[in-house]
Symmetry: D2
Subunit: 347 residues, 4 copies
């Protein structure tokens, strides 16, 4: 490997922003190792996302700092949902970076964070992005880290629900993450062999769902339906239950709303399980550790090559850089073809 312009770039900043995601620490660790070993540069971390920029809250990253963190969940740098353009300005960010001698900034974050990064980059701030979304709904990259772990956790949990459902002839409704895109529901549903998969992108009536449940029960199975949190029944169907009327979405997501509807329509005892926060914490899967490590390592190269306004991205088996705009051009949704193959095959 050729050392690229090491003399010109001495100091790289990094921050992790938005909801935590298994793999963030692997990004930090591998960025440090790449910066120091391959480029003779130094990595410094900003604490708690963009807030660390605004507060000038920095931490030096050395070998000891990253020891053994690659396999741990969360982010040792902390995170926040601070928007740098609300509490500050492009000039403020530039000033902070200059004051601390930082030649380039790696921003690891989701749609909001990358959108801010693009605005900053357009304004001349030397930024490179690393995409982060557990829901797998960011454009411009095949996958991001955290998603594989979330699918695995949901699959493990549903493997457990299946045996309970079977023992009692019960229907289980498992609610997984996915506000706008149903990738976690789709993949965990395929993996576990769910009898029905419900995603935000594709409508399904109560009658369809009831048909899935009856079909599984008639084959002697305890039916399992996986539903993304962002799924909604067609107009009118859910309001029958007064779900929306409750005004308390946290105390009764779509899974808990569907369960009694299914039970009433089919006569099959039905229980809901909301997987919630356990999907996003803890030890990342090996897949996510590898992907996050590659992102971190390549993001450092992008900084060295001064590819400002770009982000690292997985394309097939390669890590490439693409313009930040590609991540922001629209959510990556489950296509009709992908959904129908799964729903048709496993429903």
């Amino acid at each position: 490997m050729t050392l690229l312009s090491a003399p010109a770039t001495r100091r790289i900043g990094l921050l992790t922003s938005g909801g935590d995601c298994p793999g963030l620490n692997a990004v930090i660790r591998s960025a440090h190792i790449r910066a120091t070993r391959a480029h003779g540069a130094e990595l410094v971390g900003f604490r708690n996302g963009w807030r660390g920029i605004l507060d000038e809250d920095l931490v030096a990253i050395d070998d000891r700092f990253v020891e053994g963190i690659g396999g741990r969940g969360g982010t040792v740098l902390g995170s926040s949902r601070t928007n740098p353009l609300e509490g500050g300005s492009t000039a403020d960010v530039t000033a902070v970076l200059e004051r601390h001698g930082i030649d380039g900034l790696i921003a690891v974050g989701g749609e909001g964070s990358l959108s801010a990064a693009k605005t900053l980059a357009d304004g001349g701030v030397p930024i490179v992005g690393v995409p982060k979304t557990i829901d797998n709904d960011l454009g411009g990259t095949d996958y991001t880290f955290g998603f594989d772990t979330a699918v695995q956790i949901a699959t493990d949990a549903m493997d457990r629900l299946l045996t309970t459902g079977e023992s009692h002839g019960r229907c289980m409704v498992a609610e997984v993450m996915g506000r706008n895109a149903g990738w976690i529901a789709l993949n965990s549903g395929i993996a576990v062999g769910a009898h029905g998969i419900l995603v935000p992108e594709h409508p399904a009536s109560l009658e369809t769902i009831v048909g899935w449940v009856r079909s599984a029960r008639d084959r002697g199975r305890g039916p399992l339906i996986v539903v993304a949190e962002g799924f909604g029944l067609p107009d009118g169907q859910l309001s029958v239950r007064g779900h929306e009327a409750s005004g308390r979405p946290r105390l009764g997501g779509i899974g808990e709303a569907l369960a009694p509807m299914i039970e009433r329509a089919t006569g099959v005892e039905t229980r809901a399980a909301t997987l919630g926060h356990i999907q996003r914490g803890g030890t990342p899967s090996a897949y996510d550790r590898v992907l996050a490590s590659r992102f971190g390592s390549n993001a450092v190269d992008a900084v060295i090559e001064q590819k400002w306004g770009s982000m690292v991205s997985l394309r097939g088996t390669d890590i490439v850089t693409v313009p930040l705009a590609m991540a922001l051009a629209g959510l990556k949704l489950v296509s009709t073809q992908r959904y129908e193959r799964a729903a048709y095959c496993f429903g």
Copy 2:
């Protein structure tokens, strides 16, 4: 090993009753192997708990039936909450056993089922019990299978919650099983190093809980509180939030009720996670597979020895038999000493 009265006992029945529990299949498997290999006897299963008795719904159990089931969750015989003394009588049960040439019946179940088994045994039905409770609250035995698996699942889930809480400086409230006894909360709380453990047996005021959360936060931790589903705040404290008033306990257990109270009192962002049904299904832990296998094997011996009205029990490292009455003499609760050591140590 001496073959005991094999000629006198040719056919042993077995049923699994009540909520499913990891390890039931290991009981079935090892009972079959012990019956056939050690005693030259035969094991038959009744489907769906006591309902299988009332409906005379039997299945022959052979080597193929038990192949590879030891590591699977649920029960291949199915289960139900049917009470044999509501749908039938002692005479009915006796008649069914006689009609099918069954010399002794192994009933695997919880408090309700063992209570029925005792009444039947008192009335002359040849029954031996195997205790089953995920909550670990049955008397007469050190532990039962399923509990270790539930504690492990809760621990794994909370390990994940901890990293999310830390990344965001958030407080997480994890609600685990335990209606009357807090054993799962106690042990998983100790295992994960929770900052507070709440169990049904021991009161804790909101002020105490808030103190735990503040103390953890002041040490720079994302606080984690584990609460058994049966825990309640002292009179008056919970009603402030209108929790009881909601009349919908399933859409908001104690964890979801506590979270906003903690957040308001401490200013620390707080989220609830209800582990629910994933605690009781799926692959049993090795510990539970061993305990369940020993229970099944020894229950067959108890039948051969005609120890009617007894149940198998773990005492230290030994499997013994005790009168069924011992399991019914009162719930096994977390003692003040055990609770205070854990709360004091880890709070």
Copy 3:
């Protein structure tokens, strides 16, 4: 989805060949569901790979046959290393298929099996391939199922080795699968943060390895070296130890040969762990279940579309079909760039 020529194709055969691989059962299950639900066709299985063709050993596959198998390791159809062109001929295979009314055959297998499939297809046999290799060294597809599971198992095992190594200041040498290609070593090594990665494709001298071990030890770590089973030291270095001279490769793979060499050269106590067969059995990861399910489903479509001589393949996020020849054009190896980035970053 349009039903394609369902009347013309009524019966599809499937066989699994070569070493077992987590995900085979998910292929079988999803091929059955796609065949019956989407195409009105029927799936039959040949037992024990190509031997089932030669022996005309078929089994009907129905809903019950595939119930719950998606998450289980191994293959319910059995496997063998039989080569259909050694025990039989193209005409024999054609005759068997015709005799049983099979319109197309899905062959799931590795390089040997796909090579036979290509010869048969060239001879007019209606065959579609599904690539299978735990080592990830088949060309023509980004990934195959089984690889992700193996990397995860190796990562989990090495996470365990790391803590033992650290407690004792010991160096651990973990030998993983990979005869010709070092993908498992590369990815598990990145995931676990190994201090050195050794693959068959890239030479590394004992001096290099010793440097890695010393560097890790000097930073206070228990060094961890991961080595693919097919790695060899440069000429002369290994023979010093008489490794090759032993003539008993199974009682002392490369890991066990390296350990004492490292210990002698560094003075650091060194132990080898050979992961062996546990890398290929058991529950597949969610990733592998999804990929295998997609392969199975799409292979059925390829049969319906009569794409004889093709195989299903992962390209980015899409499943496509490619000529079988693409899988056979040469092993997919770890590139110098990929290796150096990992070795440089983590060594």
Copy 4:
């Protein structure tokens, strides 16, 4: 809880000695919390076992030191196999403790370490022991931490081997830990449903083993034999293979010696898997974390109560203290009754 003589005891030392064991960190953590929270005392650690005593290598333990360590494998204090009575004397140890104002010492270790602890205690050194053995062969306590984790790891690994064996009709021989006592083989063998269990305490001829393998194969299973590393065939049988003659026990344990013998005698293809070091590292099971936490907490109480020469012990569900001599009175072996029930039932 009553604070016991806190003024008299201000400083407690702790060391971890011998092979590492999952749960050591939970002992350290809970000892610190108990000492500081319940007794107003202070815990200091000696690094690398008894060597830390001889070298006066101490580390202060505070809240930050124990943060999040309970779930990690290994020991943050390091370990060694140093014998304090070889490198030093009772007077030396006493002098070190006095020089650092340490009122009592907690020694966590196995047979060798507890034996040294007893000699020191007999000589007036204020010592309390915590038993540590993965093999579960120490007397005086029902169980020790680490054993449950090792059994779980072995069970998980053998679950994987079973599916590989079945797919190929192969016999798998899994070698697990257990030099003198076969507890890990016994319990993991029961848990996984092994077709034969071999332990050091009980002889089994090659003919017996071959009978197990044939019986399993005749029922259509891939036979699985679990063997403790300390098992040996009767005189004469193993030497046929020249196993002992090799003089290289590490390159061919009993599992690798048995595999070809079984294959030759049965004609069933047979493979060995040696689980090795992965059994002792990594995240402890919830069971072991709880037991280790209770041991650590109660060991501090024993120091406060000046129960010198005692060790903490699990009796049923209680933690008690017993004289150190009880741990040294003889190995805890698998009884004939326990072995025969398992071998007879599952063979």
